[in-house]
Structures are given as C-alpha cells and as structure tokens.
C-alpha cells in the first residue's frame, strides 16, 4: 500500500493522497487506508458478539440438543395399566382380609341360625306329634269313661249320653286344635326370626362387599389413588432427573431438591 498520509490542518484529522486523483483526500483515509492499517494493527475494532462468545456459543447450542436428547431418552416412567396392576396387588390382600374378618362371623351366624331353625322346628314338630297323641288319647279315654259311666247308670245309648259324649269329643278336638295352632305359630315365629337373622347378616355381608369391592368403593378408590400417586412420583422423578442433568452439565448440580419435586411431599 503506497500512499502519503498527514494530518489535515483544516480538520485536525488524518488524510491521505488518493492515488486515483493524486489529491489529498479525507474519505480515502477513512475508507481505504485506515481500515487496512487497523487490520495490520491487529484488529478492526468490530469484534462481533459471536467472536466474543467463541466456544461458549457452541455450548449454549448444545444445551438445546442435550435437553431434547435427554427427554427423548428418558420418557415418563409411568404406565397406567401396570400401575393399576401393582396397586391392585398391593391393596387386594388388605381389603380381602378386612372383608373376610367382617363376613366370617356373619356367615357363622347365618349357619347357626339355620341350625337353630332346624332344631327348633324339629322340636316343635316333636311336641306337635307328642301333644297330638296325648290329647287324642286323653280325649279317647274321656269318651270311654263317659260311655262307661252312662252304661253303669243305664243311660247308655240315651240322648243324654250321646250329647255328653259328643261334647267330650268336641272339647278334646278343640284342645288338640288349639295345641296344634300354637305349635304352628311357634314354628312360624321360629322360621321368621331365623330368616330375619340370616337376612340381616346376608345384607351386612352384601353391603360390606359393596363398600369394599364395589365400583368406585374403598378398594378401587385406594387403587386409583395409588395409581395417581405413582403418576405423580414418575413426573417428579423425570423433572428431577432433567434438572439435575442440565444443572450438572451446564451449571451447578442441585444442592437441594425443590419442594415441588420432593418425592414424599406430605
């Protein structure tokens, strides 16, 4: 670069002779000579932001790809079907036992009631048979005694004797009917009472089964709640891993777990 330079006395600034015109030229200095001199002096003064950042820029860009790759490689570790199976296995024994503890005494009560009914009805049947025999026999004896009495008094076959015998027979039959009616009532009462006992127990069992294993009841609620809890844990674990991975690589490792990512956040 051949040119002549000096300080322009009019401006106090540098100027140079423009080889094209042969004249002193302010702009030739500023547009041609000075930029070349600046380069020769080791810098243009127009260092770009990208130049300043240098490798930092590549590291910044790496943050984007790193997070994307990390999230792809670490999907949400949660499968609802699997979570439900796990929760079912977890809660089923408990609720089965709770139900069993409740049902077993009631089932025994039902069985006992059936036995009681059979036994009481049997007893009443026995009393019925026995009572019927006794009363029939007593009536028969009373009729025979009446006939013998009238025969001894020579009234056998008389109208009085027939009337008396008829009355004795009727009384005997009424007593027997009354007895049998009472037996029937007892039988019915026994049957009804035991049936009621069994019915109540059966209802309790049914209600309990419904409360525990019915749709949307205790067992399913526990399972569903557990499934949601597993989902929350998976979301927190994924978030925690992402933050830790990014922090360790591009900033600082986590010194403490953020409260919203605590796995047992009560």
């Amino acid at each position: 670069m051949v040119q002549k330079t000096d300080i322009n006395p009019a401006t106090g600034k540098m100027y140079a002779i423009n080889p094209a015109t042969g004249n002193w030229d302010d702009s030739y200095w500023s547009t041609v000579v000075e930029p070349k001199l600046k380069q020769q002096s080791g810098g243009s003064g127009t260092l770009s932001a990208s130049d300043i950042l240098g490798e930092s820029k590549a590291k910044l860009q790496e943050q984007v790809t790193f997070l994307k790759d990390f999230l792809n490689a670490n999907p949400l570790g949660y499968d609802e079907v699997l979570a439900r199976e796990m929760a079912s296995e977890k809660y089923k024994p408990y609720y089965t036992e709770v139900l069993s503890d409740f049902v077993e005494p009631l089932q025994k009560k039902i069985a006992a009631s059936t036995e009681d009914e059979t036994r009481l009805i049997g007893e009443l049947s026995r009393q019925e048979k026995l009572g019927t025999k006794q009363m029939t026999r007593e009536t028969q004896l009373a009729l025979e005694a009446s006939r013998e009495g009238f025969a001894g008094s020579g009234l056998f076959g008389s109208g009085v004797q027939r009337q008396s015998t008829a009355i004795t027979g009727i009384k005997g039959k009424e007593t027997l009917d009354d007895f049998l009616a009472k037996i029937d009532v007892n039988k019915e009462q026994t049957t009804a009472e035991q049936a009621r006992i069994r019915d109540e127990a059966a209802t309790s069992i049914a209600n309990k089964q419904r409360d525990i294993f019915g749709t949307g009841r205790d067992y399913e609620t526990a399972v569903t709640s557990d499934v949601e809890s597993q989902r929350g844990t998976a979301l927190k674990q994924r978030g925690l891993r992402a933050i830790e991975a990014v922090g360790s690589r591009f900033g600082e490792p986590l010194s403490s777990v953020p409260s919203y990512l605590e796995l047992y956040n009560v």
Binding site: E34, G45, L60, Q63, G216, T221, T224, S225, I243
Partner: protein, 321 residues
C-alpha cells in the same frame, strides 16, 4: 545561509508511527463505541444460540395448558361412573371414586401432579436464563478487557509517536542552531558583522538548547546537579565567546543564573527540601511530581534568563558599538 522556510522532511519511522498511532486510536475508538451496545448484542446472539429457549418455552406452555385444564379433567376422570361417550361408551370407569371426599382428595393430587411439568419447565427456563446472564457477563467482561487493551495499545503507540516526534524536533532545532552558528562563524571569519537581531536569535537558540538538554536530564533522573548545569553551559561557551562575550562575563552570567537554589539541586530528597523551602514552594505543593516540577522550574528559569541573556547581549553590543 540557512533558510528557515526550507521544507522539513519527516522521517519514515515517524510517519509510520503516526499512522500506527492513528490506526490504533481508531481501533480503540471503535471498541469504545461498541462497548455501550455489546451487552445487548451478546444477549441477542446468546438467545439466538438457544433458539430463544423455544424448546423449554413450548414445553412450559403445553404444561401450563394441561395444568389449567387439570381440575375439569380430574373431575371427569374420577367423577364419571360409566362412560357415556367415546370408545368406552357404556363401560364402567375404573377410575371412578364413589366417596366424594376421597374423590376430591385424588382430584387435588391430580391437579398438583399436573403442576409438576409446569414448574419443572420453569426451573429449566430459569437455569437457561442464568446461563444467559453468566455468558453475557463473561462476554461483556472479555470485551471490556479488549477495550482497555486497545486503549492502552493506542496510548502506547501515541506516546511512541510523540516521543519520536519530540526527539526529531529537538534534534532538528539543535541542528538548526548549529547550522546558524556555523554561518555566524563563517561570517565572523570573513570579518563581516552579525546583525544584533541574529545575535540575539543565536543566544536564544543557545539558551533553548541548554533548556532542552537540562529538561532531558531532569526527565531521566528527576533532578539536575549544579555540575551538570555548568557542563551544559560550557558547551555553549564557544558560541557566547563568538558573539563577543568574554569569559568573565560568561562566568558571571553562569554564576548569576545558577545561584537560584530552586532550580538546581544535588539529589533528592535534598532537592525536595530545598524546593519546599524555596520561594516557589507553593508551586511545588501544587506539582508533587519532581519531573513535572523540575521541568516547569527549568522552563521558568530559561524563560526568565532568555530575556536576561538577551538584555546582556544587547548591553554588550551597545558597548561594542
């Protein structure tokens, strides 16, 4: 005869130094001007490098939408006993919860869980912004260091140019003085008389030579001794004698001019003590640098004695007439 109007050619090394100083001043100026906008430029480039955090912001937006929709979604998920529409229409909902209190508790869990991706995205975004701030700060600091380095380099180049120019100027002045002396000597040898004005100019040049050399010594050491000052005057003795000033007058003149304690000193701190006690102590207190002080003192001294010298010469010339 020496022609004062003769064109002086600046040596190439000085021209090169001037160009270099100018170029580096331009570089420093560019850096300085850019230092005001570099932070914004860095932020922009950093954000571009991160694609303006689009990935995290998208993730955050999606998570936020899910979070906003969470209460209604949870109510439907846990409050529907049998599906009425969709693929599972007519089927029982396995997620149905009969107990409204427990259902509300699970709904709350669901909504809280939906908040996790949103908060995670927020944290990741915050970490990104932290990185941006750190990177911009580091970049800005690096650029400021460049600015300072360029300014220092420009100043050094300018000082080098100034020194070269000063040296050249002094050498040139000395040369001019000697050439003038040669002319005077030649004229004297021819028996021609020297005009009083020329004599006066020569005396002034001689005194300025003493001034410059004394200033150089002061600049180098910070002080000048009486002996050194006498040596400087001694070099000018031939000129003074050539002008017709006898040795006695010269010695008297030298002794007179050197009698001021405030001008010369043996060595610091004696110089400082003398200076402090001298009539120009006020001046010293305002100019604590010995170089500056001594330089100014020499300048004052010479300025005064140039006039005195001129009057001495004039008196001598008058005497010879």
């Amino acid at each position: 005869m020496y022609n004062m109007a003769q064109q002086i050619t600046i040596p190439e090394n000085i021209t090169a130094a001037r160009e270099n100083a100018s170029a580096l001043a331009g570089v420093a100026g560019d850096y300085s001007a850019k230092s005001y906008s570099i932070e914004d430029e860095l932020k922009k480039v950093v954000q571009e490098a991160l694609d303006y955090n689009k990935d995290v912001i998208d993730m955050r937006s999606s998570a936020m939408a899910d979070y906003f929709a969470a209460p209604a979604a949870a109510e439907s998920r846990y409050g529907t006993k049998t599906f009425e529409t969709g693929d599972q229409a007519g089927q029982a909902n396995k997620n149905y919860i009969f107990n409204p209190f427990e259902r509300n508790a699970v709904i709350a869990d669901y909504v809280k869980n939906e908040e996790v991706p949103f908060l995670t995205s927020n944290t990741l975004l915050g970490m990104r912004e932290g990185t941006v701030a750190d990177t911009v700060k580091a970049g800005t600091n690096a650029f400021q260091a460049k600015v300072a380095a360029a300014a220092a380099e420009a100043k050094a180049a300018n000082d080098a140019y100034a020194n070269l120019l000063s040296e050249f100027t002094q050498t040139e002045q000395l040369q001019q003085g000697r050439e003038s002396l040669d002319i005077q000597r030649t004229n004297a040898g021819r028996g021609s008389s020297v005009a009083p004005a020329d004599q006066n100019a020569q005396l002034v040049a001689s005194l300025q030579s003493v001034q410059q050399r004394a200033a150089k010594i002061v600049a180098d050491k910070g002080y000048i001794t009486q002996e050194e000052m006498q040596q400087l005057w001694a070099t000018e003795t031939p000129l003074l004698q050539n002008l017709g000033i006898d040795a006695g007058t010269i010695n008297q003149y030298i002794n007179t001019t050197l009698s001021a304690d405030e001008v010369v000193a043996q060595a610091p701190p004696t110089a400082g003590q003398k200076i402090a006690a001298s009539p120009i102590g006020q001046f010293v207190s305002k100019n604590p640098s010995p170089t500056v002080y001594a330089g100014n003192a020499i300048k004052d001294f010479i300025g005064t004695n140039v006039q005195r010298g001129a009057s001495v010469v004039q008196n001598l010339l008058n005497k010879f007439k």
